[in-house]
């Protein structure tokens, strides 16, 4: 209980720190932390399916990319208010997730993951090739977003606000009866069935929720970067987000967020010295798997109690 309070205090201090950060930090760092939040939310949404649901959602970025493209296309191609474009992102991502989910959820484990990659790659090809609509491999740049969000600071505060709200909602979900049931399914799907749980339906709903929040983070990326490109739907990005979950700790709620911070910071630092960034990523990944099988936060929790649960 004491640890709980301690962790809340740390969290509160971090939130306050984040709230005042842009007032003194250089613009680049404000931008970097915005990105960390965006990817952190994306990784956390993936982890709902992966760490809590035990589903190998290998190609989660599709929902992120589709969310981002939805916002981008609605802003650039229609005269609808930007708010609608923002709201449409999670909705379209959740819809796609529903369709994927219905197809994939009947399979288990690796087969689920393989089918998910294939379906996701189809979407990537469409985005990559459909020049007249999506801009093909150029993507869409200089997306005009509402003025109040256009500055680095504006985008940062918007991202911080939305991410905090989403993280809070996800936290509630993870600790709800639904969240517990999902963990039960992860641990033992057969047993879950025999205690009366409709396993496939719960998994499907979890996938839709995960897709929804991936869509939110896609929308946030448009605000932060004012651009979209097909790489956002490419499977290597999915892999990177998966690594964020593993590095941070996929059995801890804040693990993926921490993973996002670690990976993006590392990438920023390493990239200034060498172009072989993925080499560093590989080394980090191997070290984590060998020495911290439950991720960084998982290790901290083991050592100092379940502070961040």
């Amino acid at each position: 209980m004491v640890a709980m309070k301690g962790s809340r205090r740390i969290l509160l201090a971090m939130m306050v720190g984040l709230a005042f950060l842009p007032l003194f930090a250089p613009r680049f760092y404000t931008y970097l932390i915005s990105l960390i939040l965006v990817y952190g939310l994306l990784a956390t949404s993936l982890n709902l399916a992966l760490g809590y649901g035990g589903m190998f959602q290998f190609h989660h970025c599709v929902f992120y990319g589709v969310g981002a493209y939805t916002t981008a296309l609605m802003i650039t191609k229609t005269k609808l208010p930007a708010v609608l474009a923002f709201l449409a992102a999670p909705v379209s991502a959740a819809l796609l997730s529903l369709i994927f989910g219905i197809i994939c959820v009947r399979l288990s484990k690796l087969y689920f993951g393989m089918l998910q990659i294939s379906l996701g790659s189809l979407v990537w090809v469409i985005v990559y090739r459909w020049y007249s609509f999506t801009g093909g491999d150029n993507g869409i740049h200089g997306i005009p977003i509402p003025e109040i969000l256009a500055s680095t600071k504006g985008a940062y505060y918007f991202t911080l606000l939305i991410t905090s709200i989403c993280m809070f909602i996800l936290y509630l979900i993870v600790n709800s009866p639904f969240g517990r049931t999902l963990q039960g399914i992860r641990d033992n799907p057969t047993r879950s069935e025999t205690i009366g749980v409709n396993v496939k339906l719960h998994q499907l709903v979890a996938l839709i929720i995960a897709g929804f929040f991936a869509g939110v983070s896609g929308m946030l990326f448009v605000v932060v970067d004012t651009a979209v490109f097909p790489d956002m739907l490419f499977w290597t990005l999915s892999l990177e987000v998966l690594i964020m979950c593993l590095v941070g700790g996929w059995f801890s709620f804040l693990g993926p967020m921490l993973g996002s911070a670690v990976i993006l910071t590392l990438r920023t630092i390493v990239s200034t010295y060498t172009v072989y960034w993925s080499l560093a990523l590989g080394i980090v990944m191997s070290l984590v798997i060998l020495f911290l099988p439950n991720g960084i936060l998982g290790f901290i929790e083991e050592r100092w109690g379940r502070a961040f649960k």
Binding site: S176, F178, G184, V197
Partner: protein
């Protein structure tokens, strides 16, 4: 009153007839044991009743209602809960959460997205854990319990479904003699306190003859005989097929 009736149920796997026209019944409040050599089809039979497997032919009636071919979660809701031979629980969740999950599911509360699960059914969980004697361990992660305790937790999870018929697949497998007798005492106490009907299978003949009201004998997928302990003990077929071979 007959609570469970299995009528001519058959099941084959890739041409191998695992269950051949199995036939028996369970009356309300009874403890019925299913015995038979390894591979006789006891676990398959339980899987058929609990919906994990679907029979090829035959009917299963529960309280007069046809439950043949229902999904496991539907069978659970009818009031048939089971435990497994090989420990089969939620290893990363605590003992308390294991039981709570089963109650949440029974009460159809698994769709609450924004309420805190810790506020649900604390009392009932405590009550069940007290009944089975695991209350002190309720905050331990289930995967860290001893084998015997995990088997007991199996039963506790099944109790979370408020069953009328409890199906236990080798409840004492792998237990020490003391654990075994404690476990069987628990089972017969639960029957008295909760008015349960119990169907179980077991290899330990002392346990079977000590606690069962009636016994079903299975040999190579067939239910050879159903009767009281004495009837079974005296039956010539059983002696030849089963008891003569093992230690009985």
């Amino acid at each position: 009153m007959t609570i469970l009736e299995v009528l001519g149920v058959s099941k084959s796997f890739d041409g191998f007839l695992a269950i051949k026209r199995a036939q028996f019944d369970v009356k309300k409040g009874e403890i019925v044991a299913v015995i038979g050599p390894n591979g006789a089809g006891k676990t398959t039979l339980f899987n058929l009743i609990s919906g994990v497997l679907k029979p090829d032919s035959g009917k299963i009636f529960y309280k007069g209602e046809d439950i043949t071919g229902l999904e496991p979660h539907e069978v659970f809701r009818k009031g048939i809960c089971r435990s497994f031979q090989i420990v089969n629980l939620f290893p990363r969740l605590t003992v308390l959460e294991n039981v709570r999950l089963s109650i949440l599911s029974r009460e159809k509360r698994t769709w609450h997205l924004f309420k805190n699960a810790s506020n649900f059914y604390e009392k009932e969980c405590d009550h069940i854990l007290e009944q089975v004697g695991l209350k002190e361990k309720k905050h331990i992660v289930a995967g860290f319990l001893s084998h015997g305790e995990q088997k007991i937790l199996e039963i506790a999870i099944a109790l979370g479904g408020k069953p009328e018929l409890l199906i236990l697949d080798e409840p004492t497998a792998g237990m020490s003699p003391e654990e075994t007798s404690r476990c069987m005492e628990l089972i017969s106490r639960l029957r008295k306190e909760l008015g349960l009907t119990i169907l179980f299978c077991e290899h330990n003949m002392d346990v079977v003859f000590g606690y069962a009201d009636r016994i079903v004998v299975m040999v190579r997928g067939e239910t050879v005989i159903q009767g009281t302990c004495d009837e079974v003990r005296c039956n010539k077929l059983v002696r030849e097929a089963y008891l003569g071979v093992s230690d009985g």
